[in-house]
């Protein structure tokens, strides 16, 4: 994005964006270490590389707006305000986890923060987001529902059903596609007949745009504008944020379907150094300040790991709790 950063946003906002992205990155890299140690088990899908999307979008929304995501949901939850300690404890399967250790990595949930869940069936969140948006409209809550999903989810029937439904019922939903170019190992060009994903909403008369998902400022501005459009008109809108995951689909994936050259190109567009470089160039922060932010984030992540490791396991009796009211 051209122009001076400090003309676009207050300095403290810019620094906050940076800090949130670093926190997410360090959290995810720590998860990888804990997975290697066997402390985190099961499926683990890391967000490294996509931080600008979670941070920029969340900043463009209001706190009372709903957020739903898929299974790559740690960063979405943390940026929304979930304590990293409770996310890490969830990944460790401990009773202090945000979902008492019953959900795991893919099923974070924090209704008091309007974080309405990570869903692990691809495309499963579309209808639920549609229903939440309907409820908030009926209850006159002045709330936008932001529904995050990957490029792969756009080939599920629920995507088409829900976009049609949301437009038909005129519901306040912001659909945000995190296009990282791969549904597990299948490239978007091998899965989508129209690989310009934002163009796929024309069949439902839903306006859309594409944004550089490696640029947190651009993502923030798009989301803020789109969310206010949705709020005012009570109609759905669609953003395609073009991004990249630096790791495989999950910890089980060495990502051999991508070339080293491709990976390097995207690494050069890493949203974190891209922002820090501009912050330094414009004299908004000093290297010492950036170092301090980094230290603060790593300390927070270490604290989260310590909290998780020292937390108790769920009681056996928990098996039978929370099925029925």
């Amino acid at each position: 994005m051209a122009g001076m950063l400090k003309d676009l946003l207050p300095v403290e906002e810019l620094i906050r964006f940076y800090e949130e992205m670093v926190l997410c990155r360090e959290f995810e890299e720590s998860c990888a270490q804990q997975y290697a140690k066997g402390e985190i088990t099961g499926f683990l899908h890391l967000y490294s590389g996509q931080e600008a999307v979670a941070v920029g979008c969340t900043a463009g929304l209001r706190q009372n707006d709903y957020i739903l995501s898929a299974y790559r949901d740690h960063a979405q939850a943390i940026v929304r305000g979930v304590d990293p300690k409770r996310v890490m404890a969830e990944l460790f399967g401990r009773s202090t986890g945000i979902c008492k250790g019953k959900g795991g990595s893919m099923h974070l949930f924090a209704p008091e923060l309007n974080f309405m869940g990570g869903y692990a069936i691809v495309g499963g969140q579309f209808p639920i987001a549609t229903g939440l948006a309907w409820a908030s409209q009926l209850r006159e809550e002045d709330r936008v529902t932001a529904c995050f999903f990957g490029d792969g989810a756009m080939n599920q029937g629920t995507f088409h059903e829900s976009l049609n439904w949301a437009r038909l019922w005129e519901l306040p939903i912001l659909f945000i596609c995190e296009n990282n170019f791969y549904g597990i190992g299948t490239g978007v060009h091998r899965a989508s007949a129209q690989a310009a994903l934002h163009r796929r909403t024309c069949g439902y008369d839903i306006p859309s745009e594409k944004v550089d998902g490696m640029d947190v400022i651009a993502v923030y501005q798009s989301t803020k504008r789109a969310a206010e459009w949705v709020r005012e008109r009570q109609r759905p809108y669609f953003i395609e944020a073009v991004t990249y995951r630096f790791r495989g689909h999950s910890m089980a994936d060495p990502a051999k379907y991508r070339s080293a050259a491709e990976h390097e190109i995207w690494k050069s567009r890493d949203p974190i150094p891209n922002l820090s470089r501009r912050l330094l160039e414009e004299g908004i922060v000093s290297q010492a300040q950036l170092d301090e932010i980094f230290e603060r984030c790593t300390a927070q992540v270490e604290e989260a790991v310590k909290f998780a490791a020292e937390s108790p396991w769920p009681e056996d009796s928990e098996i039978w709790e929370d099925i029925y009211v």
Partner: protein, 328 residues
């Protein structure tokens, strides 16, 4: 009390609950303007308006998911799937979402929703529109399941379904919509989940049924009474929670059980009920538990052979006679 049809009893339950609670909303395919494929939602649009009674596109999976989301968002949606057969298109939202979100999110949300599903066979609708899928739902924890047999239960169970904070699969038999019965007029009349009804008291054999099968069991009991055979008829009312105590208590008294299920026998709920009876009543049984089930075939269209595939009154009567003959 007033006499009304099963259809009107459901309609009345919907109206009463919508009048009582503004958060109750109704939606589904052709439920508003068309007033329902089976006319169960007649008069709702005109009384409650299009914000609370809404037609939707033919998108069953999203239909259920919208109900899940709306319920999580503070509403009490009552969604209609035009028939239970279409639930198969929505099994992802039913099984992976509706039944799971409360648990996998550590109890931080509730899903107070009802999916009404007309179903069952016997109307010559062919293989894709005649199914009885109750065992599919029973297999999955996380939802309540009702299958009323009488108009009074249809009203009372649906009102309970709408008021509970649990998700409910509410099964209605298409051949019962015109059946009549006495229904309490009290708007606070509720039938609790997990409490079976004894439709007929007897001493020689226990007939266990649900939905339309309970009505056939009752008719069989009346016919057998003329032959001097005393049948106790247990109508399960709800398949989850399953009131095991009532049917086990009855079998402990009679020593014989016939379980009648409209669904296929393979992995059907009748096998589950039979195994519970064997586990708890083994020493009491005077004969093996007898299952009368739908045949394990896709439903044929022709009425001559369709009826062979669904439990019939004569088959239940003969099944009881056979059971008595083979008693130890």
């Amino acid at each position: 009390m007033s006499e009304m049809t099963y259809r009107d009893a459901i309609n009345l339950a919907l109206k009463e609950e919508m009048r009582r609670d503004q958060s109750v909303v109704i939606f589904g395919e052709d439920v508003a303007l068309y007033e329902g494929a089976f006319k169960v939602t007649r008069g709702l649009l005109s009384e409650f308006g299009e914000l609370r009674v809404r037609d939707c596109p033919i998108s069953e999976n999203t239909l259920v998911g919208v109900a899940v989301g709306a319920a999580m968002g503070g509403m009490r949606p009552v969604a209609e799937l035009m028939t239970v057969n279409f639930a198969l298109l929505a099994m992802d939202q039913i099984v992976n979402h509706m039944a799971k979100v409360r648990y996998m999110f550590g109890g931080q949300t509730v899903v107070p929703m009802v999916i009404r599903m007309p179903g069952g066979g016997g109307s010559q609708l062919g293989a894709q529109h005649s199914q009885s899928l109750e065992s599919y739902f029973m297999h999955c924890p996380g939802m309540l399941i009702a299958y009323p047999a009488t108009p009074a239960d249809a009203k009372g169970l649906l009102k309970s379904a709408i008021r509970t904070d649990n998700p409910v699969v509410f099964l209605e038999h298409e051949l019962l919509y015109n059946s009549k019965g006495e229904v309490p007029e009290d708007p606070e009349f509720l039938v609790p989940f997990g409490k079976a009804a004894i439709l007929n008291e007897g001493t020689a054999v226990t007939l266990v049924g649900y939905g339309r099968m309970s009505i056939l069991c009752l008719q069989a009991a009346h016919l057998l009474e003329k032959e001097g055979v005393s049948c106790e008829v247990v109508d399960l009312r709800t398949l989850y929670p399953l009131d095991t105590e009532t049917f086990l208590g009855s079998v402990l008294k009679t020593g014989r059980a016939v379980v009648v299920e409209e669904c296929w026998s393979a992995a059907g709920l009748g096998g589950d009920i039979a195994s519970r009876i064997y586990e708890r009543c083994f020493d009491t049984l005077l004969a093996p538990v007898r299952r009368i089930s739908g045949l394990d075939v896709p439903m044929p269209y022709s009425r001559k052979i369709e009826k062979l595939c669904i439990p019939q009154l004569e088959g239940i009567v003969q099944g009881v006679r056979d059971l008595l003959n083979e008693s130890y």
